[in-house]
Structures are given as C-alpha cells and as structure tokens.
C-alpha cells in the first residue's frame, strides 16, 4: 500500500497518457485525472481536503488574476483581426508584387509573411492553415513544385511559436516566473537567424533549380513603377508599422507586454477598420485603384464608395471577436485544467519522485538537457505546444534550472537559453515527418494534388535548417542572449 502511495504520481501520469489516446479533449483529460487523483490522495490520507481548495485558488491566480496572461487574448485578437479584415492577404499580395522579379519570389513572400504574422496567430495550427489557404493555390497556379510550396508554408507557419510576440513564450515566461520582455528579446536573435536561413535556402533553390520555383513572368506587371510603389505603401507599410510598434515597444522597454499587446490589438483594429478603408476609398479616385469591392462598386460619391468598400465591417468585427473568444476559451480551459493536474501531481510528491530519480542517475547537465529536449521532441509529435509546456515544464524546469553549465551559460541566462532551445526544438518537432502536426494541418487544407509525399519531401530541408539553428544556439548562447544583454546591462 505504501509503495502504491509513493508511486501515485507515476500512476497519475500513466493514466493521463493512456486516456489521451482515447481522443477525448486533452484539457478535460488533464483536469479529470488531476481531480480524480486528488480525491484518491484524500481517500488514502495522503492529502487533506483543504489542499483540494488550494487547487482552485491556484486556478484563479494562475489564469484569472494574472496580468501577464492578459496578453494572450490580446495577441490572438490582433492576429485574427489582421486575417479576417484581409490585411494579411494584402500583405501577401504586395510582398509578392515587390518580389515578382526575384526567383522564388512567392515562396520568399510566404516566409516573410510567416515571420511578420508570427506575431499574430501563435497557435501553430491556425497559422499554418491561414498561410496555406492564402498562398498554396497561388503557388500551385504559378507552377511551384508542390514539395517546395508545402515545405515553405509548413515551416513558415510554425516559425510563429518562436518569433515574438509569441504566445508560447508568454506562457513559458509566466511558468518560469521570468520577464516576458526579456524572453521576447532572447527569442529575437534565433528567430531572425531561422528566418534568414529559410530565405537563403529558398533563394538558393530558386536560383539553382528554377523548375521548382519558376520566376514570375517577366516583362509586364511590375513595369508601372508608380503602381508598384503605391501597392507597397498601402499593403505593407501600415502593417509593418504596427508590428514595429508592438515589438519595438517591448524590445526597447517602453511598454510592458500587456501594454504592447493592447496597443497591437488597438492598432490592428485601427488598421483594419479605419486606415485601410480610407486608403482604398481614396485610391479608388486615382489611377492606382486597387482591384476589389470599391473599384467595382458605385461610381457615386465618396460616401457611397466608402460604404461599398465597408459593407459588412460590423460582421467582420463580430466574427473577429467571436473567433478570438473561442480560441481564448480553448487556451484557457487547458491552462485551468493543466494547473489542476500539475498542482495535484506536485502535492502527491511527483516532483520529488522525478527529482530524486534524475539525481540518482547522476547525469551531467548536458546529458539532462539532451534527454529533456529529446522527450519534448517526441511529445511534439502528438501535442501542441500548450499541453507540452504546461505539463512538462513544471516537472522538469526546476531540475533543469538547478543545473550548472559553468562558463557556458550564466545562471541568470539559463532559463531564457533553455526556453529558446525548447521553442526551436518544439518547432522542429511539429515539422518532422512522419508525425509533425504542422504537416497534417497543411495537408488538411491543401488542394488534393498536394500529396503527403510532397509535404514530407518538401519539409526535410527545413527540418535540417532547424537542427542547424538549434545546434548553433546550443553552442553559442549569445545568439539568444546578446539582445537582452545589450538592452538590459
């Protein structure tokens, strides 16, 4: 009986793992198993009932009375507005215009859009689906190889969990009780590194294997320099300004993450419902009129044109807040349930069990790091980042953060360095065949001529780039830490 109680946390973990494969929502498996083992703990005298009360208190202070996590709905909202109001679509079109003459221009545009909107969606599935719906049909029509097209989209969509403002980094920072701002700064270098690696690779393929990424028809289209400039100004500059405000305010320490998330969401609303319609209406009077509702609509006065362009703005606004609300509900249900699970696990002595076991193994810090990363990598085949960070991090972070990497990383930098490697590792895991979730999201919304084989073949080079970046950050922590050091010291 006493061994049964001692290993209760292990049974708890095993029960959760088995139930997950029933396909019942992860959130409720976590919450249900957490509560059930809490009750078992009370029945066996291991816990006292008041400790169950503390679970509820923790749910409150973790999810509700927590200004850090207020950022999450705001960033989700910002992304949803940009997408629903067509700002993202405009950006892709303008990027593509700008890069028309460059080999592989469309693929490069997708990567750039992925980097820029990385901010926004944060949920891997959502960004891959969005990029795929926007770009896949166009790329296939322009005779891109399905492999390159799907590799580019899946990889660029997954980049969002690393590049700030990433919701995942907010939650990791919250769990580790570290500053979100510093976490964002630390992610900036590695995120940029990955973005550049992707761009160089795509450019290389397009130059050396033009069959995979045919150059846009030369000759016509972008000859009209005035039109090109206007397209870029309208499609890109406002969105760039918005992203710059959000990232800049965090990087330079002008605003707290909540503030910059609020400004980002407010800015997105302004951009989508004021700036963009005004510009479009104004342009419809010039020779630069942009194809779309306004151009085809009324020949009447300014007001009727404006109305034509914005018919249904209220609908879009409602759609945006409702879509964001459902995503928020999903995320926070998992946060609440995972809190119940993690706290029960800890109350039953699970943390000690793991710590004692790991200590008994007498691993070197590097071995331990390798094991944690490998574990997370495998979990990434099945879970999205929310569950992984909320389940694994509370168990392993205390052990990991107690490690001494000597000269390689200072103890203050360790949490950030570890978090960034975790992020890159998760990203890679999402993209790795045969089980990467990003690949399935992509396949689910791609046209039928894109085979799973194409997707697998297309993603492999990007997985290699990911591994290179992971190794680089592991070997040179400064890639992550130079911005925080430069900004904060």
């Amino acid at each position: 009986m006493s061994t049964f109680i001692e290993f209760l946390p292990l049974f708890m973990f095993a029960t959760m793992a088995m139930l997950l494969f029933s396909g019942f929502p992860v959130a409720f498996v976590l919450g249900g198993v957490g509560v059930a083992f809490g009750l078992i703990g009370v029945l066996t005298g291991e816990l006292i009932p008041i400790q169950l009360y503390s679970i509820t208190q923790r749910m409150w202070s973790g999810a509700a009375e927590n200004l850090t996590l207020t950022t999450v709905p705001l960033f989700v909202f910002m992304g949803v507005v940009l997408e629903k109001a067509g700002v993202a679509k405009d950006m892709l079109a303008s990027l593509n215009r700008a890069l028309e003459r460059v080999p592989g221009g469309l693929a490069l545009s997708v990567t750039l859009l992925g980097i820029i909107l990385a901010a926004a969606t944060g949920i891997v599935g959502a960004s891959v689906v969005m990029l795929s719906l926007l770009a896949m049909p166009v790329m296939l029509e322009k005779r891109y190889s399905p492999a390159l097209a799907s590799g580019t989209i899946a990889a660029s969509g997954t980049l969002g969990i690393l590049i700030p403002p990433s919701i995942m980094l907010v939650i990791i920072a919250d769990l580790l009780s570290r500053s979100v701002g510093t976490m964002f700064m630390a992610a900036f270098g590695p995120g940029l590194l990955l973005g550049v690696l992707y761009l160089v690779f795509i450019l290389g393929v397009s130059v050396f294997a033009p069959g995979a990424a045919p150059a846009a028809r030369s000759g016509h289209g972008s000859k009209d320099l005035g039109r090109l400039i206007v397209t870029l100004l309208v499609g890109l500059v406002p969105a760039f300004l918005l992203i710059f405000c959000v990232l800049g305010s965090i990087l330079f320490g002008w605003a707290t993450p909540t503030e910059s998330a609020g400004i980002g969401a407010g800015g997105a609303l302004l951009l989508a419902f004021v700036v963009r319609p005004v510009i479009y209406t104004a342009l419809s009077y010039t020779r630069f009129a942009i194809e779309g509702a306004a151009a085809n609509a009324a020949k009447g006065g300014a007001l009727s044109r404006f109305a034509a362009e914005n018919r249904g703005w209220w609908r879009i606004f409602l759609d945006s807040i409702r879509e964001s609300a459902l995503t928020t509900g999903m995320i926070f249900m998992i946060i609440l349930a995972a809190t119940a699970f993690a706290l029960t696990f800890r109350l039953l002595g699970g943390e000690h069990l793991v710590t004692d076991y790991v200590v008994a193994l007498e691993l070197s810090p590097w071995h331990l790091l390798a094991i944690v990363l490998a574990l997370v990598f495998v979990l990434g085949f099945f879970f999205d980042w929310i569950e992984i960070t909320l389940i694994v991090l509370p168990v392993f972070a205390p052990i990991m953060l107690a490690q001494d990497f000597g000269e390689h990383v200072s103890p203050q930098d360790l949490p950030y360095w570890f978090a960034i490697m975790l992020a890159i590792n998760l990203q890679t895991s999402f993209m790795t065949p045969p089980m990467g979730p990003s690949l399935f999201y992509l396949k689910a919304v791609a046209p039928p001529e894109v085979r799973l084989g194409h997707v697998y073949r297309g993603i492999i080079p990007f997985v290699v780039l990911q591994l290179i970046a992971l190794m680089l950050v592991m070997a040179f922590p400064e890639i992550a830490m130079w911005i925080p050091h430069a900004m904060l010291d």
């Binding site: 396909g23 919450g31 009360y53 996590l69 207020t70 909202f77 964001s324 928020t328």
Partner: protein, 181 residues
C-alpha cells in the same frame, strides 16, 4: 428532433448567448489598455483601477467562453486512434469522457470555487490596494460560473453523444458547419 437533441440545442443557445456577450470584453479590454497607456505615459495619470479593470475584463472573457469553446468542439484532441473510430465509437468516447472526466472535474473544482467566491462575499472583500476596485467577490464569482458553464457544455455534448449512439447522422457531434459562435 429527439428530446436529447432539443435539450442540447437549448443549452447551446444559452452558452452561445453568454459567450457572445463575454466576447465584447475583448474590445473593451483593448480600449482600457490603450486608454491606460496613453493617460499614464503622456498625461502621467496612472490608475490602479484601470489596471485592475484589465484583468477583470480578461477574467470575464475567459470564464464566459469556456463553455462555448467546448460545444464548438475547439479543443485539441490526440486523434491518432480517434480518427479511425466509427461515429458510434466516437460518441461513446465522448459520453464516457464527459461522465468520468468533465463532470467530476466540474463537481470538485466547482464546489471549491463556489466556496472561494462565497468566502470573498461574506468577508466583503475589496481590492488590496487603497485605490483599487470594490466588490472583489463579484469578479471572483466568475470562476465558479465558468466551471458551471463547462459542466453545462458537458451536459449538452453528453446529450448529443447519447443521440449519436442511437443515430450518428442526425446528432452532428463533430459540429460540421457549426464551428463559429
């Protein structure tokens, strides 16, 4: 329509209405944060009440939409095996999951969360800072409310699953075409 599906649809209507109202906390939150930033940075007028209003709105939003997120089947599932189940098999998993996981979770946390809010009410708890917002119990009662909404959502989907066990085609358990609020 079978009585089970009627009950489910009625619950869904209630949860949807609540979620649609709660969703307006999101634009309200944006307005409050922007106003707070502008007044504090440019007019040097910091306000504790505004900052507390931020997490109050956040809490109203998340608690109000917890139930709706489940009836719209937004939750992440590990569907390796699930995808291969027959419609009746999926309905059975759903029904058992709700009975064995969702309801116990809601019962235990709901019970303690109700205590949590009641304690705050009987003590007449207010914000800990002098110039904070009053009626802390009001916002704290959002936690039990959110948990009850999840239980209601569970009841709705349990009815739908039971109906799907009888006739999988009419129950629309996977919410095809009904995925947005």
């Amino acid at each position: 329509m079978s009585p089970l599906l009627k009950l489910s649809a009625a619950i869904d209507a209630v949860l949807n209405t609540i979620a649609r109202i709660a969703a307006f906390a999101l634009p309200a939150l944006v307005v409050v944060v922007v106003f707070d930033v502008v007044t504090r940075r440019f007019l040097q007028m910091g306000s504790t009440q505004l900052q507390e209003a931020e997490w109050h709105l956040h809490t109203i939003l998340i608690m109000g939409v917890l139930g709706a997120a489940y009836i719209h089947d937004r939750h992440v599932r590990i569907d390796l095996l699930h995808a291969t189940f027959s419609p009746r098999g999926k309905a059975l998993v759903e029904l058992l999951g709700i009975l064995l996981l969702v309801f116990p979770f809601c019962a235990v946390t709901g019970y303690y969360a109700t205590n949590f809010a009641l304690t705050s009410f009987t003590r007449g708890e207010v914000s800990q800072s002098i110039d904070g917002l009053p009626y802390r119990w009001a916002i704290k009662s959002m936690l039990p409310l959110g948990i009850y909404l999840v239980a209601l959502a569970g009841l709705s989907r349990a009815c739908r699953s039971a109906a799907a066990l009888i006739d999988p085609h009419r129950a629309n358990l996977d919410r095809k075409g009904a995925s947005s609020l």
